[in-house]
Symmetry: C2
Subunit: 641 residues, 2 copies
């Protein structure tokens, strides 16, 4: 054995985890990346049970330490978000083509459930615009709200029930991984597109139209508007533009003076009150200012008996439930996470899913349609200084008072006021600056984003979402199928080996080709990696001018190869056989644990010889050069030297 072998540290190749161990490790990584049971270790049984219970019901975590001081903040925040919840609720119910009162119910029961199970301190729950419109468009395909309003309503509850079950299941089976496939760019595009079509829908209210299309795409909406110019009412428009200017200016005020956030938070309620007063005074209904119409006093009626599981509506409700549930989760979790970050806090995606699921199941039984954590409400909650989920409880109490006492007053709310409120909320969701940044940083992300946007605006919301997710998944597969292997060279003045394209001054070592596959190797990319390496070998062979720099060694830097499958191992064997026939020796540097295990199990290490597995590229190249200069024709292994 050569001197360079003297005190060389070997790569550990004998160790092999059992199937059970490696399965356990990978299942744990897939489903419990946050390792929730760590805190249970080494605790006495009663404490373990209490901690487990606290894990499931986060309320128990913070309630014991709840103080009057925190309550003061939470009450203030709760009242502020209630002021926003009422007009927003009525508006979103209209987007969903539901009677206005069904926009208030979701701000009563679900927040109480969320306060128990939710792990975010800042999220304020309630209905959201995008999901409302999405549900209306899916359920509207099966039942027209004008034809059978009660069936339409019941299908909404059923969809909410499925949403809840779906979210709960995702959380319990710890499948937070699914939400990971809704990329940020998909959400930006989808939200932007949805905001655009929701704004367009509001032209109905702003122009005082009575008939409108149920389609959501740009072309149908434009056609519906310009085909009935005779129905346009200037009264509505004047009032609407006035409200819109007021709301937008308070929004602008907030961005300039963040301290005055409360002005913009209560302005929707102001608009509703002022609008209602005007409509009441001038008998708006007769003067071209349509109003919301009757609202019944009273708390959420039970709706458990109305859930509709008839087979002919099952695909519709399941589809509506799952798509809107995924979307609601993605939005809710993203919102919760952003605010938690400001407070240097963390929220648990899987726990949030359980909380959202419980909330929607409870909601579907008490006349609520889909609820989640909308961005606008949560932002107000955060700005108002909420401390815990108690602010949701306060909001719920306020809404309860309204439902019991004041609901009928809201019947005079002009539709145009609601339209102005929705438009103002939607303007903030069109993140054109973000889109520009996407364009600058990553063109592919930009395409994903635009696909969602165009799909939503010109076709339908679920088409936009599906196409964009499809592109994202395709991209993920492309990442997998086309990794970025690179050729390594020695950096002058440093021992390290780096990508020759990135560091053009790095030097190749004569007779040795060092390559970094830098990606897991498996069926989808092994052919490509093999081809790429052989092309480099070819180039080296063409470029060599004589015996001296003839290629004798190929060193694979396996540091970035975090896993490998059977096809990948076979590719390596094939590669080794091909190189062998050209009298080129294959050496491995720094194989990772899982890869080393599989290379041993498949006897690949046996074929290349365990002496040819090195701890680093530097060592491997050193050994190759040593052997090359000792015994010119390279043979079975360094032990010959």
């Amino acid at each position: 054995m050569g001197t360079h072998e003297g005190n060389r540290r070997r790569v550990e190749l004998s160790k092999r985890r059992t199937f059970g161990e490696s399965l356990k490790a990978s299942l744990k990584d897939i489903f419990f990346p946050d390792d929730p049971f760590r805190q249970l270790l080494g605790q006495p049984p009663w404490s373990r049970a209490w901690r487990a219970l606290k894990y499931v019901v986060p309320f128990l975590e913070w309630a014991p330490n709840y103080t009057l001081h925190k309550l003061r903040y939470d009450v203030l925040a709760g009242i502020t978000i209630a002021g926003l919840a009422i007009p927003q609720g009525i508006s979103y119910a209209r987007l969903a083509d539901l009677p206005p009162i069904y926009g208030l119910y979701p701000s009563f029961v679900p927040p109480l459930v969320y306060a128990l199970f939710g792990s975010s301190k800042d999220l304020a729950v309630g209905p959201v615009a995008a999901a409302s419109l999405l549900l209306a468009s899916i359920i509207g395909e099966a039942v027209q709200p004008e034809e059978n309003p009660s069936l339409y309503l019941h299908l909404f509850f059923t969809a909410a029930f499925f949403t809840g079950v779906f979210q709960l299941a995702l959380g319990l089976f710890r499948l937070g991984i699914l939400v990971d496939f809704l990329s940020r760019s998909t959400i930006v595009g989808f939200m932007g597109g949805t905001a655009c079509i929701i704004i367009l829908q509001q032209l109905k209210g702003m122009l005082g139209l009575r008939h409108f299309t149920t389609s959501t795409d740009l072309i149908s909406v434009m056609r519906a508007i310009f085909n009935q110019t005779h129905e346009w009412r200037w009264q509505s428009s004047v009032l609407g533009v006035g409200f819109l200017c007021f709301l937008l200016s308070t929004r602008y005020l907030k961005t300039k003076k963040p301290k005055l956030f409360w002005v913009s938070a209560i302005s929707p309620l102001l608009v509703v009150i002022i609008g209602g007063a005007i409509a009441y005074a001038v008998h708006g209904e007769n003067e071209g200012i349509p109003t919301v119409g009757p609202l019944k006093k009273g708390l959420n009626p039970l709706s458990i008996g109305t859930l509709n599981f008839e087979p002919r509506y099952l695909t519709t409700t399941l589809r509506a439930g799952v798509i809107s549930g995924t979307l609601a989760l993605a939005e809710g979790i993203a919102v919760g996470r952003s605010f938690a970050m400001f407070k240097n806090d963390q929220i648990d995606g899987n726990k949030e899913m359980v909380a959202f699921g419980m909330m929607n199941i409870a909601g579907s039984m008490t006349s609520c349609y889909l609820t989640t954590g909308p961005f606008s409400k949560s932002a107000v909650n955060y700005s108002a200084g909420c401390r815990t989920a108690m602010s949701n409880v306060v909001m719920s109490a306020c809404v309860m008072m309204v439902l019991l006492l004041l609901a009928p007053l809201f019947q005079y709310t002009p539709l145009v006021a609601l339209s102005a409120i929705i438009i103002t909320a939607m303007v903030g969701l069109i993140e054109y600056e973000e889109v520009y940044r996407l364009f600058k940083v990553d063109k592919f992300d930009f395409c994903t984003c635009m696909a969602a946007f165009i799909g939503v605006v010109f076709f339908s919301m679920d088409i936009g979402l599906a196409v964009s997710v499809g592109i994202s998944v395709l991209r993920a597969l492309l990442y997998v199928a086309r990794p970025v292997p690179c050729k390594l060279g020695r950096l002058p003045g440093a021992a390290a080996f780096r990508d020759v394209e990135q560091y053009p001054d790095s030097q190749p070592v004569p007779g040795v080709l060092a390559v970094q596959p830098s990606s897991p190797i498996y069926f989808a990319n092994s052919g490509y990696i093999r081809q790429r390496i052989l092309r480099w070998v070819e180039e080296e062979a063409e470029g060599s001018r004589g015996k001296e720099d003839e290629l004798h060694y190929v060193v694979l830097d396996m540091g970035g190869v975090s896993s490998i499958d059977k096809t990948g191992i076979e590719m390596l064997q094939e590669l080794q056989a091909t190189l062998d026939r050209r009298e080129i020796k294959l050496a491995m540097a720094n194989p990772r644990i899982e890869v080393a295990e599989k290379m041993v199990a498949s006897n690949f290490i046996g074929r290349i010889g365990s002496d040819w597995v090195f701890l680093s590229v530097e060592e491997a190249v050193e050994a190759c050069r040593f052997v090359m200069h000792e015994t010119p024709p390279p043979a079975d292994g360094p032990q010959r030297s």
Copy 2:
């Protein structure tokens, strides 16, 4: 600036490729990984045109150097494979429920086309068993062969036409990438399952049954066999078992004495001749030994006018064409590649696709159904010592002679002889040893393989294939969504940093957490990576006992991060913000070119400071320790020190 900054080599961060450059580079990597135009560079125009033509028509590459010496080998190989082609063709035509003569036609025209365009020297083309059965099962759903035999036949030609167009398009658009998604384990499982159901189908012939099921699944076949025990014929069975023993023993002889491969290669023809003689002598048809029946003399009739593009059959033919085409490609390319490897040769997947496409388009117009490169025939071709694709031309000539002169002789071939031939060919496709190796090396690959096998055996061939590909793709996505980040420690006695789990004796550096994400970072895994890193930070914080080993630095080893998207960059920003609030400084080591570009474009580098980007983990850790010991509370950057 501290001394450690003195002559440190910086990571190149200023360079940024234009969008055009990086798009060109990645498109080239996706579609032209083999860089076919390299050889055209720096050539005069006429030479360039000639080389381009040679690239498209590989025949021109080898024909000028063709010698009489090579021809001798090719003639021998060609005659041998013709001897196999005739009985196999008739057998496979029966599998596809086509008149026997249509099994001979594909061995006449397509080999000639392949000889022009194919890049493999060893592939022998012809029909294959799996695709024959698959086509019969898909087309049989639309038209029963007994009801309308000519329509059934025409749909086969149409499917072959679509297969050709599909394969040609894949090749021209250089989408060899699609075939990469058929993993080795899927193919092993699919082939094994198909071989099993094909063997079961042969029980019809072996038992001399007249009625049989068109389903391919185990249960239907078993029911069909045991429901008509009264139709079983001992005469057929005796003959069949005899033939089978003979064929299997020649097969066994081949494995023992590879030199005698030609015995097993001509044995099917022997069986056909002997069987035909027996059937003729004893008037088999009346004695319980059904025969093939009339075969018409003459070359392939033109079938271009019979291609059927009627809309009601279009989905069937398209589906049949695309599925069988993909499968045929996967088999053909894999076979070609394996044999090329023995000869230290390479074949080009995209070129092969073009050749297969041309061959099937030409075939569909001359009464041939799907042709590809079957394993058995190619293996015989290789063993017989073929030198070039000329052996296909010789085979074609032999088959032509048979078609013109001898075809009617084959009408006496007993069906049971064909069954014995098919069974013998199929036995070799059940690679139980390979399945055992899969089980040993990679449990997930084993599942993919078993899914294909079980799907094919118990349900149907396309279900088996789809489920198995689905599992493979899911796995690829799982790889993407759950990478294997690891914590690094310093190896004692070496400067290098390695995974602490793999090298349990490696030492953490107090105050510094070094982490290697070791995978591209993007939307599907960024949440996971963030969570994983924060958990380590959490653990470090819990584990620290005092001021001394309090965590001050997190070093990310970006060496394995070959790419990143917008979501990934945002995750890093979020991570940096979170760490910042805990007074922990984030440092980067060895970012790759694409990642560095995006981090600069999104101003992430600006936020962490370009002084905190290092060439290697070792340097980064060194710098952190230096600053830590100079100025205890870490601040904006090393320039403070």
